[in-house]
């Protein structure tokens, strides 16, 4: 019988920007089991909802994560608006959707860079992040912020985007598309990259379903699931198909995210000409009473917000089930049987966001 060795992977590791620990049980150089451990930086943001007024809590919701910050704010606002039956003006809804899709592009480009860094392709990492800067420039021009925007509010958006800038976003995104095509060739066709991704960290379709995988991790295993199909925000005004892959490996997860960058650009192209004129917000008075379950599609997958309100300006409960939290059990499954050298690579392909997990 081969002797088993336990290697602690993390919580501090070059591939991890945030703390997460995996106890890797090895036989020779094969992982036979991985035991996850989180909670090193748990912030208790959910409990702050009992101390901050519901309209101010948007700022805290946005700070759950620095990458999908906008969508966290949007999800919280939508949950409150559903309870209070607030009708957000159409223009506000469209602008929110455009910012959400820009967030998806920027998140996937950030991930492509991190993935390239993980398999040692520094130049590719820099190219991906250089392209991402263009998206951050759009954010800065339209919201004033590059990471935290604070443009979402209960009742709509805080800022409008002038028509000429909105049209300019479409042109800019076409340039982004061309640049993404150039780096996508390397991610998808280069032999040295495929050697690190193809056939590595396979998650079968059945395992993905059974273990509750979400987002690109789920879709890369062949499951056609996308919360945007619920038709929230302005998504009913855009036509798009769910991007799936069947191999369930690191390569498939990479291919799905690249496909979703193009998809987000297409969605924004469809929404810009349809964006109606008018107000971007309505005044919301009173306090919510009731509960809401709001599900959105973040770049990393489905997120669920549960809000329980008691009719005062302080809420009883705000709960976020983030995509990374849901993707930890599938990650553990992916790691079983892999080479220890592939662990960083596989770990990164779930696009782990510990900020989200440690909300």
């Amino acid at each position: 019988m081969i002797k088993q060795t336990i290697i602690p992977f993390g919580p501090q590791h070059p591939v991890l920007p945030e703390p997460l620990q995996l106890d890797l049980i090895l036989e020779d150089e094969k992982v036979v089991q991985a035991i996850p451990s989180i909670g090193y930086v748990h912030r208790g943001l959910e409990t702050l909802v009992t101390k901050q007024e519901y309209q101010e809590f948007v700022y805290i919701a946005e700070r759950i994560c620095g990458i999908c910050s906008f969508i966290h704010g949007m999800g919280y606002c939508q949950a409150i608006e559903e309870i209070m039956k607030v009708e957000v003006p159409e223009r506000g809804v469209f602008l929110r959707t455009i910012w959400a899709e820009l967030s998806r592009i920027h998140s996937h480009l950030l991930w492509l860079g991190l993935a390239a860094d993980a398999f040692g392709f520094e130049n590719l990492f820099m190219q991906a992040w250089r392209i991402r800067e263009t998206i951050l420039d759009i954010f800065e021009r339209t919201t004033g912020g590059r990471v935290i925007f604070s443009v979402c509010k209960v009742g709509g958006a805080r800022k409008d985007i002038p028509g000429n800038i909105l049209a300019g976003i479409g042109t800019t995104l076409e340039n982004v598309r061309k640049e993404v095509v150039s780096i996508a060739k390397i991610f998808l066709n280069d032999n040295s990259v495929k050697h690190r991704t193809a056939g590595v960290g396979v998650l079968s379709e059945q395992d993905a379903k059974d273990l509750g995988a979400v987002g690109p991790v789920l879709r890369a295993s062949g499951v056609s699931s996308d919360t945007r199909l619920r038709g929230y925000a302005a998504y009913p005004h855009a036509e798009f198909d769910v991007i799936t892959h069947t191999d369930g490996d690191c390569y498939a997860r990479c291919a799905v995210r690249i496909g979703e960058i193009y998809q987000s650009i297409d969605i924004i192209h469809q929404l810009i000409p349809k964006t109606p004129e008018g107000a971007v917000d309505v005044k919301v008075i009173g306090a919510p009473r009731g509960e809401s379950y709001m599900r959105l599609e973040q770049p990393r997958g489905e997120v669920l917000y549960y809000v329980k309100a008691n009719g005062t300006r302080l809420l009883d409960r705000f709960r976020v089930r983030t995509p990374t939290f849901a993707n930890i059990p599938p990650l553990v499954q992916m790691l079983q049987g892999c080479d220890v050298a592939d662990v960083p690579n596989i770990l990164l392909t779930i696009d782990p966001c510990i900020s989200c997990t440690e909300r």
């Binding site: 035991i35 996850p36 451990s37 989180i38 909670g39 090193y40 748990h42 208790g44 409990t47 009992t50 379903k209 059974d210 273990l211 509750g212 919360t227 199909l229 619920r230 038709g231 929230y232 379950y293 599900r295 489905e302 669920l304 549960y306 329980k308 008691n310 009883d316 409960r317 709960r319 089930r321 939290f325 849901a326 930890i328 059990p329 599938p330």
Partner: protein, 136 residues
């Protein structure tokens, strides 16, 4: 919007068979959420509400149970393997005792400054702080 949201209140004893039925019907586990009912009324000062959410084709079904702060509940991780993470979270933040979890972190999933910070029962929280028996 597409997809329905249905919420059912069930008894504690029904959660395991109800989860098994959801699994058999092809639902996936979306989340397990715990909420303190302390803010709602004096009557529920130490009560907790557990919500088990399941999804199938964008339809969301929530099963709700109300328990006391010291009630022990059974794990559904033998049915839904991913449930262990949610159950450990509920244990660490609210102090709910859950038996038969497939992977039990024994209070070490979250490294919080004080054990069970979201448990409504201050005396129980204090007991955890003093004895620390929840963590091994």
């Amino acid at each position: 919007m597409k997809g329905t949201i249905e919420t059912k209140e069930i008894a504690l004893s029904e959660i395991f068979p109800a989860s098994q039925k959801m699994k058999d019907d092809g639902y996936r586990l979306v989340q397990i959420c715990c909420t303190s009912l302390a803010a709602g009324s004096v009557e529920h000062a130490n009560a907790l509400e557990m919500i088990y959410s399941f999804d199938k084709d964008l339809d969301l079904v929530n099963l709700k149970i109300t328990i006391g702060a010291n009630t022990e509940i059974g794990s559904i991780s033998p049915i839904y393997p991913a449930a262990y993470l949610y159950e450990n979270e509920v244990h660490d933040l609210f102090g709910v005792s859950i038996k038969d979890m497939t992977l039990d972190f024994k209070g070490n999933l979250y490294k919080t400054a004080i054990p069970c910070p979201m448990n409504p029962d201050f005396k129980q929280r204090l007991r955890y702080i003093v004895t620390g028996f929840e963590r091994e």
